[in-house]
């Protein structure tokens, strides 16, 4: 099924280039349908402003509008047959009337539709406001203006799909060069989104955002049976273009992965010895711990019960009294949030409320310092912020996958501060007299982000600084507060790795993406269980 270089010669390079050309979609700016211009075009602005005006005229105290034009190209395998090419244009208007939100969205870009969406959204807000009073105060934010293009090196939509398939095929061919190795999953996905935002407070900004991700797995075969597998962990979702593939030494990384899988397979298997152990965890495990137990728990809407009927609430359930006092972990634990890190999955110039996100410190030296907020939710903390002499402002965490969804608070990029010593994962194992080493732990959390079960096939017994066995069928059972209190050491600056992650939230459910950076770490007293053992 894959395309050979001979095919390339036969059908010509230009054929490959042709399909990368953007396809025209139409918008109606008031003079009938015309091809959609770049998002910075003043006609898009006029459309957005039409929605805002109509909403104000219908009685909205506040209104904002989003227009998005999204292109997605998925390569589900290294073949042209696997390519899925999707493009859509949508618009959504959100309004506030007497403290109640209304929202309407559709696939039509036209002045009439902008007006219809605005009045529809206002009628929704009005209906909701018939009951009790609901105070909504949007914390002030300076009006956003301008255009921002995420600085990607290679726009994946300007690369011929033929070239990308060829590249994927070459990776598979490289991995299969050795007789015992085969390539498994080999896919990638790219998105570019042009987004315009306007609000009744005078904001108008446009952005062009990219997201790229991929998956590549290899399998080790003995006697024609697959005995172990491994996957590249450097292709997780990122705010990058095609350079996600081309600017990384993927072949070297595949060789490293082979070494790791080989080492894994050669270690003698061993049944689980249930108990508590010191554990050296790799950066990916630590990133997932930070994301699932600290990131999710510090989403303010979740902590206050707005997600109770969906994903659940938070064990940090009393934000107002916990802020600045609640101890989450030892003094070495500092977790930051940002949406400005180049190449990270949640990076933007403005969030979906036109707020320029600031960098925040969520956990400062072990103490709960702040929550992830939007313009509405930041106001819920106004008193605490004032008491602690912190500015009352949104951290810019509002977002939605496209303009068709109303913005919710989603996770920013998270960064766990490294330790001061130059420690890495291998170093952490070397320092362990007796315990376990854990790689790529996957987590199942409860609905408050507190109790978790972690599973992976990469849990090793460590004795005198060396891995001596792989433990089969083991799981890690933990409670977030105890886990972090048992944090013994964090890896150094050079050991920090970044992983893109996605999260689902809300009703209707929305998927959002963010990056989490963390060093490897050593935890004390981690509980190992036999996952498949029933009571």
């Amino acid at each position: 099924m894959t395309l050979s270089r001979r095919d390339l010669l036969k059908y010509g390079l230009h054929a490959g280039l042709l399909i990368a050309l953007p396809r025209p979609l139409l918008a109606d700016f008031g003079r009938g349908p015309e091809p959609i211009p770049p998002i910075q075009d003043p006609r898009v602005r006029a459309l957005a402003e039409r929605a805002v005006e109509a909403a104000r005229a219908a009685g909205a105290a506040y209104a904002d509008v989003r227009l998005t034009h999204t292109r997605i190209r998925d390569y589900r395998a290294a073949s042209i047959r696997s390519v899925l090419d999707r493009e859509d244009m949508v618009a959504g208007v959100r309004v506030l009337v007497d403290g109640y939100w209304g929202f309407a969205g559709s696939p039509v870009w036209s002045p009439d539709e902008m007006a219809r969406l605005a009045t529809e959204a206002v009628s929704h807000a009005r209906v909701s406001s018939v009951g009790g009073v609901r105070e909504v105060e949007l914390v002030p934010a300076p009006p956003a203006t301008g255009h921002w293009k995420m600085p990607v090196e290679i726009d994946p939509f300007e690369v011929s799909p033929f070239e990308i398939i060829d590249y994927l095929s070459s990776l598979a061919a490289f991995a299969s060069k050795w007789s015992e190795w085969g390539a498994g999953q080999n896919s990638c996905s790219f998105q570019v989104q042009e987004k315009a935002f306007a609000s009744s407070e005078g904001s108008y900004c446009t952005q062009q955002l990219y997201r790229s991700e991929g998956a590549f797995t290899i399998t080790l075969q003995k006697d024609r049976r697959s005995v172990a597998r491994g996957s590249l962990d450097v292709l997780t979702p990122a705010g990058l273009g095609w350079e996600l593939y081309t600017r990384q030494p993927l072949r070297e990384l595949i060789l490293q992965l082979m070494e790791e899988v080989e080492e894994h397979w050669k270690l003698p298997p061993k049944p689980v010895e249930v108990g508590r152990f010191a554990a050296a965890c790799d950066a990916r495990t630590v990133a997932r711990f930070a994301d699932a137990t600290l990131g999710r728990a510090t989403e303010l809407d979740r902590a206050l019960g707005y997600e109770a009927n969906a994903g659940g609430t938070s064990y940090l359930a009393d934000p107002l009294s916990m802020l600045g006092t609640h101890e989450v972990g030892p003094a070495t634990l500092t977790l930051r949030g940002n949406r400005s890190e180049p190449g990270a999955a949640a990076t933007v110039q403005w969030d979906d409320e036109g707020v320029r996100p600031d960098d925040l410190i969520i956990i400062r030296e072990g103490t709960l310092n702040d929550f992830q907020t939007t313009r509405e939710s930041a106001g819920w903390l106004a008193d605490v912020y004032a008491r602690r002499s912190m500015p009352v402002q949104s951290h810019g965490c509002a977002g939605a996958p496209t303009a068709l969804q109303a913005p919710l608070q989603h996770s920013p990029n998270l960064v766990l501060d490294p330790g001061s010593a130059a420690l890495d994962f291998d170093g952490a194992i070397a320092e362990l007299e007796q315990g376990v080493a854990i790689r790529g732990l996957g987590l199942d959390m409860d609905f408050q982000g507190m109790n978790g079960l972690g599973t992976t096939d990469r849990i090793y017994e460590v004795r005198n600084g060396r891995k001596v066995a792989r433990i089969v069928g083991a799981g890690v059972l933990f409670r977030a507060p105890e886990l972090w209190k048992g944090l013994q050491a964090l890896g150094g600056r050079d050991s920090v790795r970044r992983y893109g992650m996605s999260a689902v939230k809300g009703e209707p459910a929305q998927r959002s993406y963010h990056s989490v950076s963390a060093p490897p770490a050593v935890f004390d007293q981690v509980t190992l269980i036999d996952v498949a053992r029933k009571a």
Binding site: I19, V83, D85, G105, S106, V130, G305, G312, D444
Partner: protein, 480 residues
């Protein structure tokens, strides 16, 4: 863009016109299949006893599947339906298809595919759902919040009504067609779906109650009863005590049964897997004499009181043409015996009668009994009453051993009475074990089916409460 302004959904005429228009843009021979979907959703969400968002959304999705002469089939999607957008989508698919050309490669051997008549008797459209006004949605939410607020409790919830349409027109493999309606060619179908759920917590967060329901017909959802049940469960679940993990006799409410059953339902697809020797719950083993792999079809896999079936004429189930080429009653498990697994055309159950494509279960009805939950409780010396499960994950694809959590109401039963609220547990158990350890069955009722992607088809389920012995709880979860 035309049409979308005034109509929430594409009409049959609009769809037909759109499909023909899009097909008309195809150049260069080969085959073209166009699929058009449209959806609309009216939504209302609340938290902390106030409506947090009321919304109305709609979209269109046109999928072009194009294979030029000698090329590969490729897919391009757009949500714009004007000439220029459709034509450029078709062109893009053609360019891509040409790139994948494999001259001289045919499509191989395929037998002629069967004809079937479009099935129109299923109950899948409700004017009550499609016509539920914004005002009525707001009223409903307030009616559900009130009982909670009146008791000083905190209510969160969500209600959604949706409508969707689907049509597909294609000319793939004309040499294989025996009738206008087959596989790639789907007549215009429209359906509705409604669901509503609410979680009520006490102000200190020590108790939580949940209730939810879904149906194609909004008027079948009793929102007052849902609100009352969630409040009742919240109040009764406050200040839970910790219990030792272990094996307990459990009374699973229908929702809990359906939650765990989902792990098994997912395995009723792809009969080809066990029959090619892939490990799974239905692989029996290798038949060396015949030189083939045997599945467990025809064997008893669960308690003989269990039947899992789907009758498209069932007023609580209905069926969508998009989900089946075989709109006839199908039994997946009958009297505990595995009788059907979804399969593709080539894997034919009724080999002598013609081929058909049996997808896995899209909705189902499970057999039950006549014991009420109250009677189950009264006959239990010591056990647990479970409202629902959450965060379920399969641990082993063969035994279907899974882990997950109890959520929103767990109680200890002692000597025939509910004695106290209990802290949540993590369980480690298999749905096959559950269905083989049944003590009593109750009356099957429709359960809440979680909303899937926007515009996706519903998968209704009618499930009884069960009393099951020796259910395994492996650790304590102190989250509420």
């Amino acid at each position: 863009m035309a049409g979308a302004e005034s109509e929430r959904l594409l009409t049959s005429t609009q769809c037909e016109e759109l499909l023909r228009r899009a097909r008309g843009f195809a150049r260069g021979g080969g085959t073209t299949t166009i699929e058009a979907r449209s959806w609309w959703q009216g939504e209302l969400r609340w938290g902390r006893n106030r409506v947090s968002l009321s919304s109305d959304r709609r979209d269109i999705a046109v999928r072009v599947i194009r294979r030029v002469e000698g090329g590969e089939p490729t897919i391009v999607e757009t949500n714009q339906i004007d000439d220029v957008s459709l034509e450029s989508a078709v062109r893009a698919a053609e360019r891509q298809s040409k790139l994948g050309a494999r001259p001289g490669v045919g499509f191989g051997f395929f037998p002629k595919l069967p004809a079937y008549e479009p099935y129109s008797k299923g109950h899948i459209w409700s004017d009550a759902t499609y016509g539920l006004s914004t005002e009525e949605r707001g009223e409903t939410a307030r009616g559900m919040i009130e009982p909670a607020e009146a008791k000083g409790l905190v209510s969160a919830g969500y209600l959604e009504v949706r409508g969707a349409t689907l049509a597909r027109l294609g000319d793939d493999f004309p040499e294989l067609r025996s009738a206008p309606h087959a596989h790639w060619h789907m007549p215009y179908t429209r359906w509705t779906h409604a669901h509503c759920s609410t979680t009520v917590r006490d102000a200190t967060g020590t108790g939580s109650g949940w209730a939810g329901s879904s149906s194609y017909d909004w008027s079948a959802i009793d929102t007052t009863a849902l609100a009352d049940r969630a409040v009742e469960k919240c109040v009764a679940s406050r200040n839970p005590v910790a219990l030792e993990p272990g094996r307990y006799t459990v009374i699973l409410e229908p929702q809990a049964v359906a939650d765990l059953l989902e792990v098994l339902l997912r395995k009723l697809h792809q009969r080809e897997s066990p029959e090619s020797g892939q490990p799974g719950p239905w692989l029996l083993g290798r038949d060396e004499a015949l030189g083939l792999w045997r599945s467990k079809l025809g064997l008893k896999v669960v308690d003989e009181r269990i039947t899992l079936e789907h009758d498209p004429a069932d007023p609580l189930l209905g069926i969508l043409m998009s989900l089946t080429e075989q709109p006839e009653p199908v039994r997946w498990i009958e009297g505990g015996i595995l009788t059907n697994i979804g399969h593709y055309f080539d894997t034919d159950v009724r080999a002598l009668e013609g081929r058909y494509h049996l997808r896995g279960p899209t909705g189902y009805r499970m057999s039950g009994g006549s014991t009420t939950v109250d009677e189950m409780i009264a006959t239990t010396r010591r056990g647990l009453l479970v409202t629902r499960f959450s965060n379920i994950r399969e641990l082993d694809g063969v035994s279907l051993l899974s882990t997950g959590l109890t959520r929103d109401g767990l109680w200890l039963i002692e000597n025939g009475k509910v004695s106290k609220a209990v802290k949540n547990f993590r369980f480690t158990e298999s749905p096959l074990f559950m269905l083989n350890s049944i003590e009593q069955l109750g009356e099957p009722v429709p359960v809440f089916r979680p909303a899937r992607a926007e515009g996706a088809a519903p998968t209704p389920a009618i499930v009884p409460p069960l009393k099951v012995r020796d259910f395994s709880f492996t650790s304590l979860i102190d989250a509420v």
